[in-house]
């Protein structure tokens, strides 16, 4: 990637609560707020931190499947709903399955780089609890190639990643692999318990390892190689953040140390109609992470924390290998040894990630950026980890589909 022609910042992040099973306020049979509520809550909270809508030049919103989950298309039109001051401003909606949120970030970054905007309000949202999981699985399967849906599992994406887990078990051993996946699950829940907006914030299970061991994969009821504890849950949530130029940051009155600088990124697209070249590898993530690190001019060891896309525990394990923290097949060991825990070598997903915090599919990319912004600027509350002075860097990796659309972004404390 070419050297950036100007500096780009992100600031004023906000996450709504991730609502779904696990949250005490969630009742599947009672009416819940819709898409509009979440967009408004997140958007307005960010506007409040930047002196209002008058300071916003553009809006971008990431959303995956509102046309099916909520029977609502034309999502960009919901941005001016956040505040009258946004009326008639340019807005765009991005879609790249579960990487829709990061694509919204990319849209904002590119607008700022193109000098067409100094301040872009960026939102990510998904409201998925509008239907039972068995039907939601149909909707989410849209992130795969529809020609392959018929042969896929009832729970399509869990099925895809179950196949990946199966391939990993076969080569490296199931018991070994599941030790790593178990630790991944435990880290996710323990981190989520420190973050009041997390879906697993109320989780009070005493022995998470025992629970994990008890719930074995059962192909008759679910998929062959994963249990529900290996999967992110169904979530309703939105996140928002602003993307600014240096001038933009001044305009909204946010000091640099309250912002993060975007040092580099990579955006990768793999052919949707092709199966992954190797089920035990996430090649698009590998490529995106490598390019992003290079573009930022740092090394992987300079990172203080990373938000990785753990829609499934096995995806988390594979990510540690794709990032180069572990050799192929050693990712499960790396995680089992605690290296990705909040006090480990490289803390991953410090507020729970997709499994612990929640996975509002189209909103997740923005949520990841907000989390890194919180950690690097010391706003993560109880979930705050120590950011070493010589490693003031963070990264987000947002994945759409089965390693198809991937965006990796590198951030530095501003």
């Amino acid at each position: 990637m070419k050297k950036l022609r100007k500096k780009i910042y992100m600031a004023a992040g906000y996450n709504t609560i991730s609502i779904g099973t696990g949250r005490k306020e969630f009742h599947p049979k009672k009416p819940r707020p819709g898409l509009e509520h979440y967009i408004k809550e997140a958007g307005q909270a960010t506007l409040k931190q930047i002196g209002g809508a008058k300071n916003v030049d553009e809006g971008a919103i990431g959303n995956f499947m509102a046309p099916r989950f909520n029977k609502q298309g034309h999502i960009a039109g919901l941005i001016p709903m956040i505040d009258d001051g946004l009326e008639y401003k340019p807005c765009i909606r991005t879609e790249g399955a579960c990487a829709s949120g990061a694509l919204a970030l990319m849209s904002g970054i590119k607008s700022v780089l193109a000098d067409t905007a100094d301040v872009v309000l960026t939102v990510g949202v998904e409201v998925q609890n509008t239907m039972k999981a068995i039907y939601g699985a149909d909707v989410l399967a849209g992130a795969g190639w529809f020609q392959k849906r018929k042969d896929g599992h009832a729970y399509f994406f869990p099925g895809q990643f179950s196949n990946r887990a199966g391939a990993y078990y076969e080569k490296y051993g199931m018991e070994y692999a599941r030790k790593g996946m178990r630790r991944w699950f435990r880290n996710a829940i323990e981190n989520a318990r420190l973050c009041p907006t997390a879906q697993e914030y109320h989780n009070s299970v005493k022995d998470l390892d025992a629970l994990y061991d008890k719930l074995k994969p059962n192909g008759k009821a679910f998929v062959d190689n994963l249990s529900v504890l290996d999967c992110s849950k169904v979530s309703d949530a939105a996140s928002a953040i602003v993307i600014c130029s240096e001038e933009g940051l001044k305009k909204v009155g946010i000091p640099k140390d309250q912002a993060v600088e975007v040092l580099g990124w990579a955006q990768v697209e793999r052919n949707l109609t092709n199966d992954p070249p190797d089920l035990k590898e996430v090649t698009a993530i590998k490529k995106a992470a490598k390019e992003a690190i290079e573009s930022a001019g740092i090394t992987i060891n300079d990172l203080a924390t990373i938000e990785v896309h753990d829609c499934f525990s096995i995806a988390g394990i594979l990510a540690t290998e794709a990032l180069g923290f572990a050799e192929p097949g050693k990712g499960a060991q790396f995680v089992a040894d605690g290296h990705t825990a909040r006090d480990g070598k490289i803390p991953l997903n410090t507020t729970g990630g997709l499994i612990g915090w929640g996975h509002p599919t189209g909103g997740t990319g923005v949520h990841q950026a907000v989390t890194i912004w919180e950690q690097l600027t010391g706003k993560a509350g109880e979930a705050q980890i120590e950011i070493p002075k010589d490693r003031p860097y963070g990264m987000t990796i947002n994945m759409g589909g089965d390693d198809v659309t991937v965006v990796a972004i590198i951030y530095k404390r501003g």
Partner: protein, 445 residues
């Protein structure tokens, strides 16, 4: 005739009733399962849902749709395999819809008994009226050339009696589901003196396919389930009558109900259970059983008095509980009926006083709900009842007396040869009434 062939044309009589609708649902699902087998795809399967009430049948179809949706949603992983050859069915939603259609497409709701004339298997789930059962079955049998098998869901009428009076030549079995059939695991199987082995084998295979547990019962009015329940209910009514010499009737009902539920760790109190089954139904069953009993009387003027006052319990068509001994709000008892004044008295007015009279439970953390799924429930119950026996309170005394009576009833069912053994009695109470422990136990010795 093979199993599949036997289930090609089936009739459920009384299909819109509480038991009939459940039997219809289970049978429709089983028949659909057969119809979806590759070798059966060119064959037609017919399930006649016969009931007098058009309104009831409309409600039945609604019930079926809702239940089938739930069933399909639970087994979508499997259904995707069943419909693997249907290129037009891609999404779960499409497969679920097709399945619901395929099951409902087997069902023919109708009000005319003639529908049963072509069937090879007929489930009878009409009201507990022997003469009506005999009349309908003999009418069908005269007009049906298939020599059909009759599975009656009667919970009290002796099967041999129906067989002889309707002249069915032994082509009848007692096949007694528990309420609600779609949930309760138990089926009581009652053979007649002439039941063929082939029919019994089919019944076992059918029950197994439905995931039911079969307990054989001898052909004695009430069989095992009601043999226990009716006597258990009589005990409670007698206790209320004796207790209401000292306290108002409504308080006595509340207290005995509480003893049965909380002190005996049962899923619901005895009077709530009577309401659930229906005061009228309980009274009919007692009526059917009573003439067959030599040295005891199953007859309750209280139940008759309540029925005459229009207080019958049972369920509304949407499944909610009708008022009976208790008045219900959101399924929970809130008031007790006073047959003298013909009005309900709010439980909150006397609850505290009565609870105090009964005394505390040995361990307030032990309830039916808290232990039913626990592996160590035997141990917990042993501890609970041992400690109960050391209490001198009114509640403890009533509970021990009640537990002993239940035990005695269980043993009588074996000694009078209604049940083959004590184990069968316990299985019936565990799986048909969802009790946490069987009546034949050593807790109350």
């Amino acid at each position: 005739m093979t199993y599949d062939e036997k289930l090609r044309n089936v009739t459920v009589l009384g299909a819109a009733g509480k038991m009939g609708s459940g039997i219809l649902l289970l049978t429709a699902v089983e028949m659909a399962e057969l119809s979806l087998k590759p070798e059966n795809k060119s064959k037609t399967f017919v399930l006649n849902a016969v009931d007098l009430s058009d309104e009831g049948l409309a409600g039945l179809m609604k019930y079926l749709k809702v239940q089938l949706q739930k069933i399909a949603e639970k087994k979508t992983v499997y259904l995707r395999k069943v419909y693997a050859d249907r290129a037009d069915l891609i999404e779960n939603g499409e497969i679920i819809e097709q399945y619901i259609f395929d099951v409902m497409n087997i069902v023919r709701p109708q009000t005319k008994i003639e529908a049963a004339y072509d069937s090879t298997l007929i489930f009878e789930a009409i009201s507990e009226n022997k003469n009506l059962k005999v009349k309908l079955l003999s009418q069908i049998d005269t007009n049906n050339k298939n020599n059909p098998w009759y599975f009656t869901n009667t919970s009290s009428v002796p099967i041999n009696l129906i067989d002889n009076e309707a002249k069915l030549g032994g082509r009848i079995l007692g096949f007694h589901f528990y309420n609600p059939p779609a949930v309760q695991k138990l089926v009581e199987l009652i053979k007649t003196d002439n039941s063929s082995e082939e029919m019994v084998e089919f019944a076992k295979a059918y029950a197994k396919s439905l995931g039911k547990i079969i307990v054989p019962s001898n052909d004695f009015a009430g069989f095992i389930g009601n043999g226990h329940f009716m006597r258990d209910a009589m005990h409670a009514i007698t206790e209320v009558e004796s207790l209401s010499k000292d306290v108002p009737f409504v308080e006595a009902v509340y207290m005995i109900n509480k003893v049965a539920q909380d002190f005996l760790v049962r899923p619901m109190g005895i009077f709530q259970l009577i309401d659930y089954v229906g005061i009228d139904v309980v009274s009919f069953i007692m009526n059917v059983m009573n003439p067959f009993l030599d040295d005891e009387e199953l007859y309750s003027p209280l139940l008759i008095k309540l029925m005459e006052a229009g207080v019958k319990g049972g369920q509304n068509s949407n499944g909610s509980q009708k008022d009976g001994f208790f008045k219900y709000e959101k399924g929970a008892p809130v008031a007790v009926y006073d047959p003298e004044k013909k009005e309900y008295h709010s439980i909150s007015e006397f609850k505290e006083k009565c609870d105090e009279k009964l005394g505390p439970l040995p361990d307030s953390t032990v309830s039916w709900k808290s232990i039913i799924r626990r592996r160590d429930k035997e141990e917990l119950l042993e501890k609970f009842f041992t400690s109960l026996k050391s209490l001198q309170s009114l509640g403890a005394r009533l509970a021990i007396k009640y537990g002993k009576r239940s035990n005695e009833i269980g043993k009588v069912l074996v000694s009078t040869k209604v049940a083959h053994n004590e184990n069968d009695v316990n299985t019936v109470m565990l799986t048909g009434f969802f009790h946490a422990y069987g009546p034949v136990n050593s807790f109350f010795n």
